[in-house]
């Protein structure tokens, strides 16, 4: 009993079986009948004739005359004979075009299901739970910033003095360099601050004390002193709020995964030996 199962399982891993099954699937969808290169019978049934007529109509915008249809059918038979004989002789083997076409068909089959599939809420929730950091909303800041100027020793010293003065409530005589960015931001998301000041500045905000002047803090422009008035971390978004984004990610990943899994499964049946020239 188990011997049969083992043999069946082995057969299912057999690449040739996969190949034939996939090939059969393609052929079934294309023409409605299974291929058999070895078969010596060519049947041009109604479905095939309808297909021939449809393609003709598509190309010429009218149905073929009876004589033309006879010609098309005999051409189809000719193609079929050549095709089968070519397969028998292995002429598909060294043809780059045939190889690429086959590869594309396999890829389309592998990815199509995932493309069309619709994720369940549970799928999306799992995605959200797996990488909460990716979907977390950025912290939001209400802050003031004063631009001191280029990053050098003198300005660093000045920034330190300014911080002390500002925290002591003294603003008189404190110079500010002009900077064409707002001096005060209200409830601004961290990524907005990062795109305007650079990533280092946004990272420094995370560590800055709340409610007092602090600095110097570096940006892409030089040195600043800052006062974070409020740092708010919005709650983790719920599925319903970011459904479209989760769906986009799920689908992109599903297609990639399906293609990779399919390839991996096929590869398992192969020994791949690579011999590079020295």
């Amino acid at each position: 009993m188990s011997g049969w199962k083992d043999r069946a399982a082995g057969l299912l891993r057999e690449p040739l079986v996969h190949f034939l099954a996939a090939g059969a699937l393609v052929f079934v969808v294309l023409s409605g009948r299974p291929p058999d290169a070895g078969e010596r019978r060519i049947v041009v049934d109604e479905a095939v004739v309808t297909g021939i007529v449809n393609r003709y109509v598509q190309a010429f915008r009218r149905p073929p005359t009876p004589a033309e249809l006879d010609g098309l059918i005999s051409d189809h038979v000719r193609t079929e004979v050549y095709y089968r004989e070519a397969l028998r002789l292995g002429l598909d083997q060294d043809d780059e075009v045939v190889r690429k076409r086959m590869r594309n068909k396999m890829l389309a089959i592998a990815g199509a299901e995932a493309e069309a599939a619709q994720p369940s809420d549970a799928d999306l929730q799992a995605l959200l739970d797996k990488d909460p950091a990716r979907y977390a909303l950025p912290p939001r800041y209400t802050l003031e910033q004063r631009y001191i100027g280029a990053d050098n020793a003198a300005n660093r010293a000045r920034a330190g003095a300014d911080v002390a003065a500002l925290n002591a409530g003294r603003t008189a005589g404190l110079a500010q360099e002009p900077l064409p960015l707002p001096g005060r931001f209200v409830d601004a998301p961290a990524f907005d601050l990062a795109t305007q000041f650079g990533d280092d500045f946004a990272a420094a905000l995370a560590k800055a004390p709340v409610g007092q002047w602090f600095g110097p803090v570096s940006s892409g422009f030089g040195l600043h002193v800052i006062r974070v008035e409020q740092r708010a971390q919005p709650p983790q978004p719920r599925l319903a709020e970011i459904r479209q984004r989760l769906e986009n990610d799920w689908r992109a990943a599903a297609v990639r995964k399906a293609e990779d899994a399919h390839l991996k499964e096929l590869l398992e049946g192969y020994d791949v030996v690579i011999e590079r020239p020295e």
Partner: protein
């Protein structure tokens, strides 16, 4: 309905999959998101209004296999594997993207590639088909032949099959609409609907990008249209007006690569000759409020032939100034005036003086025109014009001649540019409206923040207060028109801030154009604020160069020269209230390495001396116009 389903449907010869998927999509739906617009634009938004994916007939032929979905993911900051297998990620996400696949033959090359070979009866098409399947090189050769045939108006009839093409266009368009809508996230990232209208006369580039303000409900009622062989934009304007009339929506067109039009983009006459009519000028100004001034295929700001006194004219003209787009007609010097934007702005004033309407009153943006589905405009991360020149050791010196013998090489491509938009929110409506009022500027890549306000009473002291608010309250922003009637000369708030992760700034210039008393168009470039001012004093009216910290051997530079920010209030010292004029800003960075220099380090190349290894990247704002009061 998505890319792979389409592919599968084509391959497997069934449309059942497509219908099924559509219904599911609609059932899921998405809620309306409310995004409020601020009182005035607070934060500049960066985007690309010109990007091609595998749905573009030439992009696919050149090898790209990434579609709209990958393009959108990349623009939003995700890591993507390029067609040639290189990992790609932007240093920072973009705020918006317009995928503008060519309407003409939308999906046609892909359809040819995907078609069962036995259905291809035309011997030429069959040959192209086989070449494309050979691999990337064959594909590029096939594409060069296809483009060449297109230029000669000699494509196989089967490829131009109207009914099939219409069906294919519709199906690719609808599929792309779904994808774009999925990735549009108001407030965070805007994905627009659009397409490219590839108008050409011979090989002369009259291309326009068409951008819709609206959502899928309205946009789905139309499909992109193909240009005919007429060299006028009338038909696309008719299409745009019909769309606006039937849907109540809005749409605009952005011309690009005037530098490859062989003098036809900004003519002084009606296209085809004869005096320009006021009706034509009015339509053009209304439907084409913005021009793409810089992109991979060169920069169209100013040419040394037209602006001999401008030492910074001629940025990125090498290679592009020898002929038209397809290289089938050499360029002569008398053509430049119809090709370069500064001259077009001057021509606009001349035409306005003649007939009361200015057809060339447009704002300026940059974009990539990348055909790789990857919007890259950074020198150290440039994925090339098309998939054949994604990063590889040969691309700097490879011929890029589109099947001709003209001397264009890989290094002539610029890693340029992006569109900067002063919008009141990150939504389709707000960004579109900012383009419509021309409150936009162009960058050759770096994300500099540039403000420009014109008014009659701005003083240096304004910079100490809330000058942005003052700018809006007492003046007009870039793209605006100075209100006439005030006394004295106009003054301008000028402000530039370096890219937070980029190079320092060298200087800010005001470029002024006007029509003098004799009816002749004039121009002048003023240096209005510059770095290291204590050391750099103008000599004989010329400001000394900022210096150069580029080390080509390591493709690096230092911010030890230049300034992080340059701000001033400038008053026109030569103002004549009786003549019409425009003013725009040009902001120059200090010299930085160009993408071939980065390639040379990455691939250990020895570059020939003619290759551009460093440059001063720049931003161009939309102009502010002045018209004298009508007597």
């Amino acid at each position: 309905m998505r890319r792979k389903v389409m592919l599968a449907a084509v391959l497997l010869g069934t449309t059942a999959l497509i219908g099924g998927c559509d219904q599911i999509k609609r059932a899921v739906g998405g809620g309306e998101v409310a995004v409020t617009e601020s009182e005035f634009p607070e934060k500049v938004l960066w985007g690309d209004t010109h990007l091609h994916t595998a749905n573009s007939v030439d992009a696919f032929g050149f090898g790209v296999r990434l579609g709209p979905e990958e393009a959108l993911r990349f623009a939003r900051g995700e890591e993507i594997t390029s067609t040639t297998g290189v990992k790609a990620k932007l240093s920072r996400p973009l705020d918006f993207l317009v995928i503008t696949d060519h309407a003409e033959g939308l999906g046609a090359t892909k359809a040819l590639y995907d078609a069962p070979r036995m259905l291809i009866t035309d011997p030429t098409m069959r040959r192209w088909y086989d070449m494309m399947h050979e691999g990337p090189e064959g594909s590029q050769r096939a594409m060069a032949e296809i483009l060449d045939a297109r230029g000669r108006n000699d494509l196989p009839a089967a490829m131009m099959g109207q009914a099939d093409a219409a069906e294919r266009t519709k199906s690719v368009w609808n599929s792309s609409i779904d994808t774009v809508e999925d990735y549009n996230e108001p407030g965070k990232f805007t994905a627009f609907f659009g397409f490219e209208y590839t108008l050409m006369q011979g090989g002369n580039n009259l291309h326009r990008n068409i951008i819709f303000r609206d959502g899928p409900d309205k946009v789905r009622t139309v499909v992109p249209i193909d240009p005919t062989y007429k060299a006028t934009p009338d038909e696309i304007w008719n299409y745009m007006e019909a769309y606006e009339k039937s849907t109540g929506g809005r749409v605009l067109a952005i011309p690009h690569n005037s530098n490859l039009s062989n003098g036809l983009m900004f003519e002084l006459t009606q296209p085809g000759g004869g005096p320009m009519t006021a009706e034509y000028a009015k339509r053009r100004a209304r439907l084409e409020p913005v021009v793409e001034i810089t992109q991979i295929k060169g920069d169209s700001e100013a040419h040394p032939f037209l602006s001999p006194n401008d030492e910074f004219a001629g940025f990125g003209v090498a290679g592009w100034e020898i002929s038209n787009l397809l290289g089938n007609q050499p360029k002569t010097q008398n053509m430049f005036a119809g090709e370069y934007v500064r001259e077009a702005l001057k021509r606009g004033l001349l035409l306005e003086a003649q007939m009361g309407v200015n057809p060339y009153k447009f704002g300026l943006i940059g974009s990539t025109d990348s055909h790789t589905a990857l919007s890259t405009a950074d020198e150290d991360q440039f994925f090339g014009k098309h998939s054949g020149n994604e990063p590889n050791p040969a691309r700097v010196m490879q011929g890029q001649n589109l099947g001709t013998r003209q001397g264009r090489f890989g290094w002539h491509y610029l890693a340029s540019g992006y569109a900067a938009v002063w919008a009141k929110a990150n939504t389709r409506a707000a960004i579109f409206d900012a383009m419509q009022r021309r409150e936009v500027y162009a960058s050759t890549g770096p994300r500099m923040t540039v403000r420009f306000f014109g008014g009659w009473d701005f003083k240096a002291d304004d910079l100490k207060g809330d000058w942005v608010r003052a700018g809006y309250q007492r003046g007009v922003p870039m793209g605006g028109e100075l209100k006439p009637g005030a006394k004295g000369a106009p003054s301008f708030i000028v402000s530039a801030l370096k890219d937070p992760i980029g190079a320092n700034l060298d200087r800010v210039q005001v470029v002024k154009g006007w029509v003098d008393k004799n009816g002749k168009a004039q121009e002048k470039v003023f240096d209005v604020v510059w770095s290291d001012a204590a050391k750099r004093k103008p000599v004989g009216g010329k400001l000394p160069a900022v210096g150069d910290t580029v080390d080509v051997a390591t493709a690096s530079y230092k911010n030890t020269i230049g300034a992080a920010t340059l701000n001033t209030v400038w008053t026109d010292p030569e103002f004549d209230p009786s003549v019409r004029a425009f003013y725009y800003l040009r902001v120059l960075e200090i010299p930085t390495p160009s993408w071939p220099a980065y390639d040379a380090v990455r691939f250990k190349l020895k570059l020939p001396p003619e290759v551009r290894v460093k440059q001063q990247e720049r931003a161009y704002t939309s102009p502010i116009w002045y018209s004298p009061t009508k007597a």
